[in-house]
């Protein structure tokens, strides 16, 4: 039973017995883990009150071959502090936690997604644009789980998607169809060329281009339609916290 160290973001805590807690954590090296924090509800424990939702912590845990891991200590790196008096930033944080819980597997590491999660939560804490940060996180999540559509090429004929004509989004295949392949009778969601370019830039793994990206309402609406439909399709239901979230640009 090896002892491991990791940086982790708290995704969920559930009270267990009078003094303990079961914690779901998203770690940088191990992906999502579930661990028992014995004494985690006590004021004085080796967890220093760090096991709060979305808190960023340095943890030590014992990895178990079956059942829950055992969390032995946790130190707070930073608490998630949404913008004061802004419930939407708080709900956006809940949404991030819900997606990480629902769309990642235990012990499936996603170091890039961990970094994007940190940046996204930090964006919710500052005066950043929440709607853009949520969209970027959703795209990063879809990329990590292999469900991000190719924004440049038609999934059917392989031709480049033309900017002038809207492309059809085929949800079941998580891909885009050019105007010829989707045909004039296409009734599914459509994405305009500008939207595809914006989504392409937002979904880039590296760089800071996305921070200066200005989305017009149509691009944001179409982008959110793509991500929401994809995520709900994969989860088999609409995320619960999405109902509370009010996102818009412009």
């Amino acid at each position: 039973m090896p002892t491991e160290k990791a940086e982790a973001i708290v995704l969920r805590t559930t009270d267990y017995s009078d003094t303990s807690r079961i914690v779901a954590l998203f770690t940088d090296q191990f992906g999502r883990i579930s661990a028992l924090a014995k004494g985690g509800r006590r004021l004085k424990s080796s967890f220093e009150n760090s096991l709060d939702l979305l808190a960023d912590c340095q943890i030590v845990f014992i990895s178990k071959s079956s059942g829950l891991d055992l969390l032995t200590s946790s130190q707070l790196i930073g608490r998630f502090r949404p913008q004061p008096n802004d419930l939407n930033c708080l709900y956006a944080g809940y949404y991030v936690a819900e997606l990480l819980l629902g769309l990642t597997e235990e012990y499936d590491p996603h170091p890039n997604l961990f970094q994007v999660t940190r940046e996204t939560l930090s964006e919710f804490s500052q005066a950043g644009l929440v709607a853009r940060a949520v969209l970027r996180f959703e795209l990063a999540m879809l990329r990590e789980i292999g469900q991000l559509p190719d924004f440049e090429v038609c999934m059917n004929c392989g031709s480049l998607l033309e900017g002038a004509k809207p492309s059809g989004f085929l949800l079941a295949e998580s891909g885009l169809l050019c105007a010829s392949c989707s045909g004039p009778d296409w009734r599914g969601p459509v994405m305009h060329g500008g939207t595809l370019r914006v989504l392409q830039m937002l979904s880039q793994e590296e760089g800071e281009v996305w921070r200066n990206l200005v989305l017009i309402p149509q691009q944001f609406r179409e982008g959110r339609q793509l991500t929401t439909l994809s995520i709900s399709h994969i989860l088999g239901k609409q995320p619960k916290s999405l109902k509370l979230l009010m996102l818009s640009v412009g």
């Binding site: 707070l76 608490r79 419930l87 509370l244």
Partner: protein, 207 residues
Amino acid sequence: MPKPVEPAHHPYGPKVGALVERLASLPGIGGKTAERLAQHLLDCPKTEALAFARAITDVRAAVHPCPECFNLTENDLCDICRDPRREKHLVCIVEQPRDLLSLEATGIFPGLYHVLGGRISPLNGVGPDDLNLDALVKRVRDRGIQEVVMATNPNLEGDGTALYITNLLAEQPVKITRLARGIATGSVLEFANREMLADALRGRQAF
């Protein structure tokens, strides 16, 4: 971990199996403890076991939420709401009746309470509609409440719930306060963590 025995296939019969299953559904009770408790109920005098069963039946029949504050009571109104010495214009909001008991144990709060019945936690499927919020707004509006003290748990979801309520009461002429945060009495500054000290500095008060 051994596979739990199906109630119908329990070695002592399905009735014992059903009892073990019920006991194991209680918080903090696992299969082995449930077996031990069931064994105790079979071993102890019959009158004791029946008294235990009757206590459960009685408590479920008699105890209900107070219609005013949602604390648990056996009467029409809970003891706190009926107490004429309580300040009627001061209301403290708590998540659970257990939190109310902890605050009451201090013996220094002179006002009334309002039990929410949880906190907003979308990840656990609890939304604003699941809490006793309509009754709170009505109470503040109709009973001339002058101060509401937020005593939700000092964590992200507790603070989020307090913020939601603050927005909900924004149009009411009521002062909204929250419990102080910071260093515990009897501790030493040297060993207080950064967050506690920051909270204490932010919430410093006139000496």
